[in-house]
């Protein structure tokens, strides 16, 4: 079984549309994250949830709204998609919320292309 799974793998859409990416982890972890990776491979944290509570909210346009129905799921909804939103989005999880010496487990990514 895949530890952190996200769907869809690829997402191609038009500007102005609204889309969602889903993420689920079966590791029993308390904390989940969304990262965005740009074309230069920079991986930037967007959000983090711990037991359904938002604990990290980076400077992200409010068109991006995470939702965590339970600690095993963290979905990302994006409104009014723009060209600059094209990137690979990664979901991740960890056992604890302070990750000094904790591992992150990543999903395989969702490649979003906005046309």
């Amino acid at each position: 079984d895949t530890a952190v799974s996200q769907t869809p793998k690829y997402l191609v859409t038009q500007m102005g549309n609204d889309k969602s990416i889903k993420c689920e982890q079966n590791l029993g972890h308390d904390t989940m994250y969304w990262y965005k990776q740009d074309s230069k491979k920079f991986l930037k944290i967007m959000f983090s949830y711990n037991n359904k509570e938002l604990i990290i909210n980076e400077t992200v346009p409010n068109r991006f709204s995470p939702k965590s129905p339970d600690k095993a799921h963290l979905n990302l909804h994006i409104n009014s998609l723009e060209l600059g939103d094209s990137a690979v989005y990664f979901c991740a999880s960890s056992q604890v919320k302070f990750v000094t010496n904790e591992k992150l487990f990543f999903g395989s990514g969702t490649q979003l292309s906005v046309l």
Binding site: V4, Y35, K40, K41, F42, L43, K44, I45, S48, N50, I55, I56, F90, A92, K97, F98, V99, T100, N101, K103, L104, F105, F106, G107, S108, G109
Partner: protein, 115 residues
């Protein structure tokens, strides 16, 4: 301001030892140094972590000098399958007033192993 600095790319040949150095001049006392590996079309995966001196596992070794301002990931006898992006991380404790750290990924080092 970047937390870590590492070479953008490196080339090697099969069977060679590869050393990737990362600078983290502003590392905090409680920070651990962690390295992740990312293959194309996959999420990053944890490979090794250390606090000081030397750590070795089945995949790599991590060398950390006493001042902890840098670290070196050593991959023994690389193969073609070691071609990947390697990220060096430390925790960012400037978490904007929250008590939670957040992992900051840099640009990573693209390692290409040639036959």
């Amino acid at each position: 301001l970047a937390k870590t600095t590492q070479p953008i790319s490196m080339d090697s040949y099969e069977g060679q030892e590869v050393n990737i150095t990362c600078s983290h001049n502003n590392i905090a006392t409680n920070d651990y140094i962690t390295w992740y590996q990312q293959f194309p079309s996959q999420g990053p995966r944890f490979i090794i972590q250390g606090y000081k001196t030397k750590v070795t596992n089945e995949v790599a070794s991590l060398f950390i000098p006493a001042d902890r301002k840098s670290s070196t990931l050593s991959l023994p006898r690389v193969s073609l399958s070691d071609t990947a992006v390697y990220y060096c991380l430390v925790v960012d404790n400037n978490a904007g007033g929250t008590s939670y750290g957040k992992l900051t990924f840099g640009q990573g080092t693209i390692l290409t192993v040639h036959p």
